[in-house]
């Protein structure tokens, strides 16, 4: 029975992987690999329950990814604060991404998750709020602030309607 469930889970995950991976890559904190986020979210989920027992596994795993990314981001900010206090490390890490993406990476993961879901996947703010774990109004506010910031730094424009 457990073997059958594992087989089901694997097939389900393989089907979900492309969407999960894209989502994780879009919201990942700087320095964290998208697949690592996905794997960690899946590991945490499987440690408690089978994937096939979850009603909406895609949304469930995305929520897990958002939380993990948020935790990483907070940890990174604390680390950065420590760096400011004690001075920069001897070896500086260089971001491999071009400047536009680097600016986007500075938007916090939860805001990027809302943007990705509403702009790229054209989901409603209610759906995005459910994944991120906040109210719809808060999701709108996250999106609005992120776009305002990006406009100022990159002069971005938004297609498919104004999420703000």
């Amino acid at each position: 029975m457990a073997h059958l469930r594992a087989t089901d889970d694997e097939a389900l995950f393989v089907a979900l992987y492309p969407a999960l991976r894209r989502f994780a890559a879009a919201i990942r904190p700087s320095g964290i690999d998208a697949d690592d986020l996905v794997q960690e979210a899946l590991t945490r989920t499987l440690a408690r329950r089978s994937l096939s027992s979850i009603e909406e596994p895609l949304a469930y795993l995305r929520t897990a990814i958002v939380r993990i990314a948020g935790n990483h981001a907070r940890g990174r900010r604390r680390a950065d604060a420590r760096v400011v206090r004690v001075g920069p490390p001897d070896v500086e890490s260089a971001d491999a991404y071009p400047s536009d993406l680097a600016d986007l990476m500075r938007v916090q993961p939860r805001a990027r998750a809302v943007l990705f879901l509403t702009v790229v996947e054209e989901r409603s703010f209610a759906d995005a709020a459910a994944v991120v774990g906040c109210s719809e109004a808060a999701a709108r506010q996250l999106s609005s602030r992120a776009l305002r910031s990006l406009r100022q730094e990159l002069g971005v424009e938004v297609r498919n309607g104004d999420p703000a």
Partner: protein, 433 residues
């Protein structure tokens, strides 16, 4: 102008890809490890909780200071959940209990006393379920009238600080550490409320003298039964109705006599026997208003083979008076036993009952038949059950058919010719319980 959608798409497609299958294998492996770790952590936590629980119980047992919920004379009571695995739980199977010679029946809201004296349990056979409002009386009885009380008193006398009374109430226990043996213990009811001061027991008497304190029997004569019962409960006694009696002066339900008498000091039974009035005497029963039924009592050979149940099929109460006699007869109406006159209790009052009513038993004539002298050796029958019983009662006769296997063996027949003696019936007429 940069499109945020393009940026997000580009970001979403960035970075290396491991592949879903590989990721799942890694995640599943990691999940298994985490489950093992979590189980280990849970086991450790459970063990820690159990150890802490045992330590708490032990500490509580040896440290009487606890949350104060009710006090009397400086003693403190505290409630706590019954530990499921603790030996401090009451036996669940107790339904009745013998205390001071009386059997007590449980009630849903009863209070169960299962242990005392430093947390040591009373054996289950001695555990008691207490009945309603009278629990304080019974608790006092147990504390004051059993040898264990002496041990408790002795511990107080020895000034041992860890004397602990444990009352199990519903699903919780009430522990009463005796911090001052010269003070009273507060008794609590099923809801944990302290009962009135009259229900307190002073352990100091038993502690100082190892003597069982005595209770004074209240005066119940002249009170209605309900009032007498309430008075008895207040004085820590239980009423037991031992009889009813006709009275031209006392209405029905009034206590006519009691034993022990009022003012007596009692420390053993905890019961007061009372005789209750049934009011003025009704008219004597007449045979035309009576019916009789045969009932096998299931007894062995010898006496008490059968009972004749007498019913009042009239319209009003009547008093059964002597003479009442019975004789066994065969199908030819020939007596096969000698006639025996029964004694009749002074006030067997028969209440009208419908014929065939299931609770029509109002008087029993318990009878059997056996050879008076037993002569004839071991081969002679020790009993006889004739085909019919002829009952003389109320100025007439009633015939009752024997529904059991008839073993009518008049003397000198059926190979019993060598048997001598006379078959007779014996019994008495009493009010049905």
């Amino acid at each position: 102008m940069t499109d945020v959608r393009d940026l997000l798409e580009e970001l979403a497609e960035s970075g290396p890809r491991t592949g879903g299958g590989v990721l799942f294998e890694r995640a599943a492996s990691g999940a298994r490890t985490r489950r093992r770790v979590r189980r280990g952590a849970q086991f450790a936590a459970t063990t820690l909780v159990l150890v802490a629980g045992v330590a708490t119980v032990l500490a509580f047992r040896h440290s009487p200071s606890s949350e104060r919920i009710s006090t009397a004379g400086g003693n403190t009571a505290t409630t706590s959940a019954v530990p499921a695995s603790s030996t401090g739980t009451c036996p669940a199977s107790v339904t009745t209990a013998q205390v001071a010679g009386s059997t007590l029946s449980p009630t849903p809201d009863g209070v169960r006393l299962c242990g005392y004296d430093n947390g040591a349990l009373v054996p289950s056979s001695s555990a008691s379920v207490w009945q309603g409002r009278a629990e304080a009386q019974h608790l006092a009885r147990l504390l004051l009238a059993t040898p264990v009380d002496d041990a408790l008193g002795q511990q107080c006398a020895d000034r041992k600080p860890s004397v602990l009374l444990r009352f199990a109430v519903a699903n919780s226990v009430v522990d009463v550490p005796v911090v001052d043996c010269s003070k009273s213990i507060a008794y609590v009811d099923g809801r944990g409320h302290v009962l009135d001061k009259s229900t307190h027991a002073d352990l100091s008497a038993s502690a100082k003298t190892s003597q069982v304190p005595r209770l004074v029997v209240p005066d119940l004569v002249g009170n209605t039964f309900d009032a007498a019962r309430a008075t008895a409960h207040q004085a820590h006694f239980v009423l037991r109705v031992t009889g009813q009696q006709v009275s031209t002066t006392s209405p029905e339900g009034v206590v006519l006599r009691q034993s022990p008498a009022a003012g007596a000091q009692d420390s053993s039974s905890g019961e007061i026997d009372v005789v209750v009035s049934v009011g003025p005497a009704p008219a004597p029963c007449v045979a035309s208003n009576l019916a009789a039924d045969y009932r096998n009592t299931g007894g062995a050979t010898g006496t008490h083979l059968a009972a004749i149940v007498i019913r009042n099929v009239g319209s009003s109460r009547c008093q059964l008076t002597a003479p009442v006699s019975v004789v066994g007869i065969n199908a030819s109406r020939v007596p096969v036993t000698t006639r025996v006159s029964f004694t009749v209790e002074p006030s067997v009052i028969l209440t009208p009952t419908a014929v065939g009513a299931p609770k029509a038993v109002v008087a029993n004539v318990v009878l059997g038949a056996r050879p008076l002298d037993g002569a004839g050796g071991s081969n002679c029958p020790r009993s006889v059950t004739p085909e019919l019983w002829k009952l003389s009662i109320g100025g007439g006769t009633l015939t009752v058919r024997n529904h059991d296997n008839v073993t009518t063996d008049p003397l000198g027949t059926a190979g019993l010719s060598s048997c001598n003696g006379t078959f007779t019936a014996e019994g008495s007429v009493t009010a049905a319980s």
